[in-house]
Symmetry: C2
Subunit: 452 residues, 2 copies
């Protein structure tokens, strides 16, 4: 192995080998323990440089970790000791094509930048992870990211029309294009979406855009218990297509109120923020039906607004949860999802696990999808507290599996959950997974130890 | 190889070996020449019988052709001489779960039966191939079928939440479930959708359902030229989310008028049938915008109705095209798709190809998606006419590829287009395809010679 060779093939200006600078590339937001120091960080500006870097790594059998904006919550971009990290941060071009309602995007472009570029043409890129201001499209593709609006508008994979991918041997393939429907050959594009950097490195994406939706109305409903709020979600899911259905439990409400003092009801057991973007008068009708469901399951207070700014203010309580909880200690961020009707049982179960393991576990959720984020908060300096939190983390995943759910709804498996993947998928699906991995990356150099 | 062994393991009552009865399983609607006589047709009632049949075939190295309702338009279900055809026609159970808004469906259930079962619970299964009354969900999964409403509501893969699949070695795996979001592991489920029976045989599907949409309004617009109609489609695609955008060219209009005498304008060069299902007053607004676009590009006549029955009557002209053209001679049904802005050029190019090869090629299209069905009509008894039609068929596929499109938008590759797949995908994507095929079906027994 020769770093000189790497610098020569990629261009020395885009290779970082200074350990002090490389330290910034060791972790993502999950801060999964055990990240190593890479041998180099390549920051390509072109797909050809990605190919050159991968070819160099392949020729030396060096593991490759692709990295977007580093906001991942499962450790999928954690550096490997002696491995090559390829950071796509410099590949940020965005080109909107209004005629085809598509965006051609490089992987380092931020989700918010794509949204802004689309909006400038009266168009809309729906997927909206909570981190949309700071996460990259490449990371969104790698994890098949979700978000708040996906209860009505779907997740990242639903908007991917085309991908350029650098394979493990350095070849570049182009999948899909600006055509909307295409069933020629295997759905390889869909296979690469959500593959967490284990099958290839995406260097260009064609995203489908929609016309901008009508302005949304917002409803906030306060419930005496978390279970009652969840039951409202289940009930409205049968017949209503809300464009956003977010949940906070009582503990999450209090953490946000401690942080923001915005006047939330500290006695509430659960809170829902719900939006409808049905056009015109249909919006008010949908809001009335949503309100009726909330009242029927016993909500103690409900408030509605058609003012988008006021609506965003309510949503800001939900968005404040992550910074509000981050300052309380170390975090393990869960991402379990269940069939919507089992949401009440999942919340009850998490509450029981929190009590039994004496761990603070506030819960927020993209409730309309059954996708929850129990955040385990603990004193990172206390090994016993960490052990309890880790045990609770594992139990919550098993609970979700037992309820017919998943260990991860949108964050990905990464390194944080790789040990639990087999429990969800079972040995036969794991074997199929390994067979496909071996077919596309026989050396196993792409993000080993993560994702699958 | 022993058919006695097959009968013993599957159950003789569900095995057909009489050649006279097996003849009904030799072709699908594409009637691609060269179908053989299978050694047996298994008609399983359970997934366990599918497993047993596949294990028997695997142990003898016998090719397996899965078959749904036999309405495929690419020869994907054509029987192989001496192969085993597995017809899923008896596995037709449908169970609607309103709480999760899902349907658990066996592959032989007809698309229309799923729609009806969902409607009985106030729910809706959107994908609607033109053949929805007679095509099976298993076939829809195999081809990732589209239809008329997918311009707004997406294609089959967008509604698949779970699959049970029998692999090439007879193992049964379960992918996904009733959870809406799930990113754990590779997107294997999406890989199996559209794989045309080459990677496994689906024995159970979990489909996502939506609440029933509002009633649609319908607009019919008549244009002097096909190109003008296509330009209207391009223009409205930038800003309007119609729920249906169907096209017929002048030749297709005349063929339907010959058949139905419904009073269509025989002098028209193109006709659009467009629907909006926006709720309440928004629908009329959307219709007005659509009408304005049609008038702006020079449509000669436009008619609107809010009466769903009258709307369906207009759509019946479009639906009558297949039976109307079928009686005129032998058919080669194209399914090419292009980026929507290139639709006018595609239509012009098809017209030029038709003239040059002296072949009758009326065109209908799911125009809002850029997915067209040029139907090549020729005298099957005239070898020269067949040769000209086949040459035109190939040229139309190449034209679509040259315009950034696909050789198949919704019918699949099957045996009809397998020779053209490489021209679209290129050698590297073909190699990745073969690597995945080899990983999942090392013996190559699943639908060889078709799909990929």
């Amino acid at each position: 192995m020769s770093l000189d060779e790497l610098c020569a093939t990629v261009g020395a200006a885009d290779v970082v080998i200074d350990p002090a600078r490389m330290a910034a590339y060791q972790f993502d937001w999950a801060r999964v323990p055990g990240a190593g120091m890479p041998c180099a960080v390549v920051r390509p500006r072109t797909a050809a440089q990605v190919q050159a870097a991968v070819r160099w790594a392949a020729s030396h059998g060096i593991p490759v970790v692709p990295r977007g904006a580093g906001t991942g919550l499962a450790g999928g971009a954690s550096a490997i000791e002696g491995g090559l990290t390829i950071s796509l941060e410099k590949m940020t071009a965005i080109k909107i094509d209004p005629a085809t309602r598509t965006a051609v995007v490089e992987p380092g472009a931020l989700n918010a930048a794509v949204k802004r570029a689309a909006a400038a043409e009266g168009l809309w890129y729906p997927p909206d992870p909570s981190s949309f201001e700071i996460c990259s499209i490449g990371g969104n593709i790698a994890t098949n990211a979700g978000g708040l609006c996906c209860v009505k508008y779907g997740v990242t994979t639903d908007y991917v029309l085309g991908l350029d991918v650098v394979l493990a041997d350095g070849r570049l393939i182009t999948l899909g294009g600006k055509r909307i429907k295409d069933v020629a050959g295997l759905s390889l594009m869909k296979l690469f979406v959500g593959s967490e950097g284990t099958l290839g490195i995406v260097t260009r994406v064609i995203l489908r855009l929609l016309p901008e939706p009508p302005p949304a109305s917002t409803l906030v409903a306060v419930f005496p218990t978390a279970r009652a709020a969840a039951e409202a979600v289940v009930e409205m899911g049968r017949t209503i297509r809300a464009s956003l259905v977010e949940f906070m439990d009582g503990r999450a409400i209090n953490i946000v109120e401690d942080y923001t003092a915005m006047g939330l009801d500290r006695s509430a057991g659960g809170l829902l923020v719900i939006q409808s973007d049905a056009p015109g008068a249909a919006c008010a009708q949908e809001m009335q039906r949503i309100e009726a469901v909330c009242l029927a399951v016993g909500c103690s207070e409900v408030y509605r607004t058609d003012d988008p700014q006021e609506g965003e203010a309510f949503l800001s309580a939900r968005r404040a949860f992550f910074p509000a909880s981050e300052r309380l200690g170390s975090l393990l961020i869960e991402d379990v999802g269940v069939p919507v009707p089992t949401l009440p049982d999942l919340l009850d179960g998490i509450s029981e696990i929190a009590a039994r393991h004496d761990t603070d576990i506030p819960v927020v959720a993209h409730a309309g999808d059954g996708n929850t984020h129990p955040n385990l908060i603990f004193d990172g300096a206390d090994p016993a507290a960490r052990e309890r939190a880790e045990a609770a983390f594992e139990e919550i995943m098993q609970l979700a599996i037992d309820l017919g759910g998943t260990i991860t709804g949108e964050h990905g498996v990464g390194r944080a959950k790789i040990g639990a993947l087999g429990a969800q998928l079972g040995p036969d699906v794991m074997e199929v997974t390994r067979a496909i991995k071996a077919a596309l990356d026989p050396q196993g150099i792409l993000n080993p130890g993560s994702g699958i």
